[in-house]
C-alpha cells in the first residue's frame, strides 16, 4: 500500500512537471511576443494542403470561396462530428501524436482544455495580436488564454430574450425587463394556460454558466496551474434566487432542449421564451418554421434594469501544434475570421464577432420577416456591447459539463435548491482538478 501511494505521488509529480513544461512554453515565453504576418502571406503564395475539422454549415461555402481566391491551396473539409464527438477525436489524435487536422473548430468553453496543455499554436507568433481592436471585447477574451492567442473569434453568442409575441399579446403580458418581471410573466402565463411555460430548462451547464456570467459571477479563475472555483459567489446566488422560484414553482417546461419535442414546443407556443445566444435566429428560421411571424427579440432581462448580458456558445478556429504547415493553417484562419470568410458566414445565418460587421448599417437595419419585420440585429448587436467582463471557463469545462447532470441536474429533478447542486458540482470539480495535477482550491 505504501509502495502504491508512493507510485501515485510520483505519477502526480510527473504529471505536474509535464503540465508545467507544457504550459510554460505558450503561456509565458511568448506571452508578449508578436511576430509578423510575412510567413503567413508567404505560405499562402506557396500553397499546399490543409485539413479543417468543423461542423458549421457555413464551412462548405467558405472553403469553396477560399479555394477560389487561393487556387494553390487545397482545404480538406471534414465534419468529424458535432462538439463533444469532435473533441473526443481531437483529444485522441493529440494523445496519439498524429491524425489530427491542421485547423479545428473549437467552442470558447472548450478552448482552455486544448490551449493549456500546449496542443494549439499561439497565433501571436504570426502577429495576429494586432487584430484585437476588430473584435468585441468578450470574444477576444474568449480566444485569449494566459495572454496567448489560440484562434480568431468566429461566431459570438451575446444573449437576448426571444419571446413568443403571440402568447404575450394574447394573455396581456408585458415583455419583462427585469428577472422579477420575468418571474411574474412566468406565473401569469402558466396560470392563464397550464400547458404553456415561460421557458424549458431541465438543467443545462451552458445556460447555467451564462446566467451566472450575466449576474456578475466569476466562479472559475485560473492562471494555468492554480484554479479557484467558487460556485457560491454573489453572482451565482443572485441567479439561483430567481431560478429556484421557477424550478420549485414548477413554472418551467421539462422538455429537453434541442429534442424534436423542443422544436415542436417552440413552434406551437407552449414554450414562450428563450434566453439564449444571438445565433438563435438562424436556428429559428431553418428549424422552427411553424413559429414564423410569432416571435420577437428583446434585451435580456437584468437584475436591476441596467443593460448587461453574457455570451452563450460561440466558437473559434484554432491551429493545432501537430499541423505540418502551421503558417498556411494560420493563413486560412485569418481569411476565415478576419477576411472574406466572414461574408459567407453571415449570409448563412451566423452571428459575427467583428465590430465592423456588428455596426454596419446594412446589418443593423436588416428587417427580419421571421420576426415580423423587426430589426433584430439592433437588439443582438447592442447585447454584444454590454457583455459582463472578466469571465473565464475552467480548463476542464468539458468534463465539468459532463458531470453537471449528476449534481446540479439533481436539484432540477428533485426540485431542491440549485445552490446545493452547485456546491456538489464544485466539490466534484475540485476533486477532479486535483487528480489531474492542477492545484484547485474552493472559494
Amino acid at each position: 500500500m505504501a509502495l502504491f501511494r508512493r507510485h501515485r505521488a510520483l505519477a502526480a509529480l510527473a504529471l505536474a512537471a509535464a503540465l508545467a513544461t507544457a504550459c510554460g512554453s505558450p503561456a509565458q515565453d511568448t506571452a508578449k511576443a508578436t511576430g509578423t504576418q510575412d510567413s503567413v502571406d508567404a505560405a499562402l503564395k506557396a500553397g499546399g494542403t490543409i485539413t479543417y475539422w468543423t461542423w458549421t454549415p457555413s464551412a462548405k461555402a467558405q472553403v469553396a470561396a477560399f479555394e477560389q481566391e487561393y487556387p494553390k491551396v487545397k482545404v480538406n473539409l471534414v465534419n468529424a462530428g458535432t462538439g463533444k464527438d469532435q473533441y473526443t477525436k481531437l483529444q485522441n489524435a493529440i494523445k496519439a501524436g498524429s491524425g489530427g487536422p491542421d485547423v479545428a473548430q473549437i467552442e470558447y468553453q472548450a478552448l482552455p482544455q486544448f490551449a493549456l496543455p500546449g496542443s494549439l499554436v499561439d497565433l501571436n507568433q504570426y502577429g495576429f495580436g494586432t487584430f484585437q481592436k476588430d473584435y468585441t471585447a468578450s470574444t477576444w477574451t474568449s480566444v485569449t488564454v494566459n495572454n496567448a492567442l489560440f484562434g480568431l473569434p468566429q461566431d459570438s453568442g451575446p444573449m437576448a430574450l426571444f419571446y413568443n409575441k403571440e402568447d404575450f399579446d394574447k394573455y396581456g403580458i408585458a415583455v419583462p425587463k427585469t428577472w422579477d418581471e420575468y418571474l411574474d410573466a412566468a406565473k401569469k402565463l402558466h396560470a392563464a394556460d397550464p400547458t404553456k411555460f415561460i421557458t424549458s430548462d431541465i438543467g443545462d451547464p451552458g445556460f447555467t454558466t451564462s446566467m451566472i456570467w450575466q449576474a456578475g459571477g466569476h466562479p472559475f479563475s485560473t492562471d494555468g496551474r492554480n484554479i479557484k472555483i467558487n460556485l457560491d459567489d454573489a453572482g451565482a446566488q443572485k441567479w439561483t434566487k430567481v431560478w429556484d422560484q421557477l424550478v420549485q414553482g414548477k413554472l418551467l417546461s421539462t422538455v429537453k432542449g434541442w429534442s424534436d419535442d423542443w422544436y415542436r414546443a417552440l413552434g406551437d407556443g407552449s414554450i414562450a421564451t428563450l434566453v439564449t445566444g444571438a445565433w438563435m435566429p438562424g436556428v429559428f428560421k431553418s428549424s422552427v418554421t411553424a413559429g414564423s411571424g410569432k416571435w420577437a427579440v428583446a434585451p435580456m432581462p437584468t437584475y436591476d434594469g441596467q443593460p448587461v448580458s453574457a455570451e452563450n456558445g460561440g466558437s473559434t478556429q484554432s491551429v493545432l501544434k501537430q499541423s505540418s504547415n502551421p503558417a498556411l493553417a494560420a493563413a486560412f484562419v485569418r481569411w476565415l475570421n478576419h477576411g472574406n470568410g466572414i461574408k459567407p458566414f453571415i449570409a448563412s445565418g451566423g452571428f459575427p464577432s467583428t465590430t465592423a460587421d456588428l455596426s454596419s448599417p446594412a446589418f443593423l437595419n436588416a428587417a427580419d420577416p421571421y420576426f415580423g419585420g423587426q430589426q433584430v440585429n439592433q437588439v443582438l448587436s447592442a447585447s454584444s456591447g454590454v457583455v459582463a467582463k472578466g469571465w473565464s471557463y475552467l480548463p476542464y469545462q468539458l468534463y465539468a459539463n459532463s458531470v453537471y447532470g449528476d449534481t446540479v441536474g439533481k436539484s432540477y429533478l428533485n426540485g431542491t435548491d440549485i445552490g446545493s447542486g452547485l456546491k456538489a458540482w464544485q466539490a466534484t470539480l475540485v476533486d477532479y482538478g486535483n487528480q489531474q495535477g492542477f492545484t484547485v482550491s474552493a472559494g
Partner: protein, 269 residues
C-alpha cells in the same frame, strides 16, 4: 407475453410511422399517428440524396465491415474453436482462461487503447481500423468450442483418419457440416454486433467517408444541437428504418438454418 410484445413493437411502430412524416409534420403531430402527408418515399429519396448521397456510401461501408469483419470473425472463431475443442496441446487451459477473460471485457473499454495502438501502426481513419478489431470474437470462439465438443464425436474423426484423410481434409469435408448450426449462430451474432457497432468506429474514424451507418446517422442527429443547428430528424428516422431492414432480413434468413440445427444433437444415432 403481451406486455413484452407491446414493449418491443411500440418503438418499432413509432419508427415506421414517423418515417412517413415530413420534418414539419414530425414536429407538429403526436408520435403514433400519421402526419398530414404520406412522405415515406419522399423521405427515402431525400435520405439517399442528402449531403451528396453520403447515406449510400455509409451503407456500403457498413456492408463492407460486416462482410469482411463479421465473415472473418466467423471463420476465425470456427477454426480456433474447433481446434481447441478437438486437439490436445500445451497451454490449452491458458487459452481457455484468456478467452473467458476476453468475453468479460466490454469492447468499449478497449476502444481507446486500441485507438492508440492503431495510431502507432498508422491505421486510424482507415477501414482496417474497424475491420481488424471486429475480426476477433472471443464469444464466437467459445460458442464453437462448446458446440464442437458435443457435436463432433471423436470416433468420427478417428474413422476419417483411418480412411486416410488429413487433418485439414477432416475439418473441411467432415466436421464443417456438423458445425453448421453453430457457425450460423456465431455468424448471426457477429453480423448483428458489427452492423450495430458504434463506439469503435466513432473513436477510430474521423473522415465521414468511412463512417458506418450508426456513426453517420448519429452525426445527422447531432446536427440538431447548438449554434448552427440544422435538425434533419425525418432523415435520421427514415435512415434508421432503412438501416434495420437488412438486419431483419438477415435474421429471418439465417434463423431457418439456426432452428433446424438446434435439434441436431438431440437424437443419439
Amino acid at each position: 407475453m403481451a406486455l413484452y410484445l407491446l414493449y418491443t413493437l411500440i418503438p418499432l411502430a413509432w419508427l415506421v410511422i414517423s418515417a412517413t412524416k415530413t420534418q414539419p409534420d414530425l414536429l407538429s403531430t403526436p408520435g403514433l399517428s400519421f402526419g398530414g402527408v404520406f412522405a415515406l418515399f419522399d423521405n427515402i429519396g431525400q435520405t439517399f440524396t442528402y449531403n451528396n448521397g453520403i447515406f449510400l456510401r455509409w451503407l456500403g461501408n457498413t456492408v463492407l465491415y460486416v462482410v469482411v469483419g463479421a465473415g472473418g470473425a466467423t471463420v476465425l472463431a470456427t477454426a480456433a474453436g474447433y481446434g481447441l475443442a478437438k486437439y490436445r496441446f500445451r497451454g490449452r487451459r491458458a487459452v481457455f482462461a484468456v478467452v473467458l477473460g476476453a468475453i468479460a471485457v466490454p469492447g468499449t473499454a478497449l476502444a481507446v487503447p486500441t485507438f492508440l495502438l492503431f495510431s502507432r501502426l498508422g491505421l486510424t481513419d482507415t477501414p482496417l481500423a474497424v475491420i481488424i478489431p471486429s475480426l476477433i470474437s472471443p464469444f464466437g470462439l467459445y460458442l464453437i468450442w462448446v458446440y464442437a465438443t458435443d457435436a463432433i464425436p471423436d470416433e468420427m474423426m478417428e474413422a476419417a483418419r483411418i480412411d486416410g484423410a488429413g487433418e485439414i481434409r477432416i475439418f473441411l469435408a467432415v466436421t464443417l457440416r456438423q458445425l453448421a448450426p453453430g457457425i450460423v449462430t456465431v455468424a448471426l451474432f457477429a453480423v448483428v454486433a458489427t452492423w450495430n457497432n458504434y463506439f469503435l468506429p466513432l473513436i477510430m474514424l474521423s473522415d465521414p467517408d468511412w463512417y458506418p451507418l450508426t456513426v453517420g446517422l448519429n452525426q445527422w442527429n447531432a446536427q440538431a444541437i447548438g449554434a448552427a443547428a440544422q435538425p434533419v430528424y425525418h432523415l435520421v428516422i427514415t435512415g434508421s428504418v432503412l438501416t434495420i431492414i437488412p438486419l431483419v432480413i438477415a435474421f429471418l434468413f439465417l434463423q431457418r438454418f439456426w432452428q433446424s440445427g438446434l435439434t441436431a444433437g438431440s437424437v443419439k444415432q
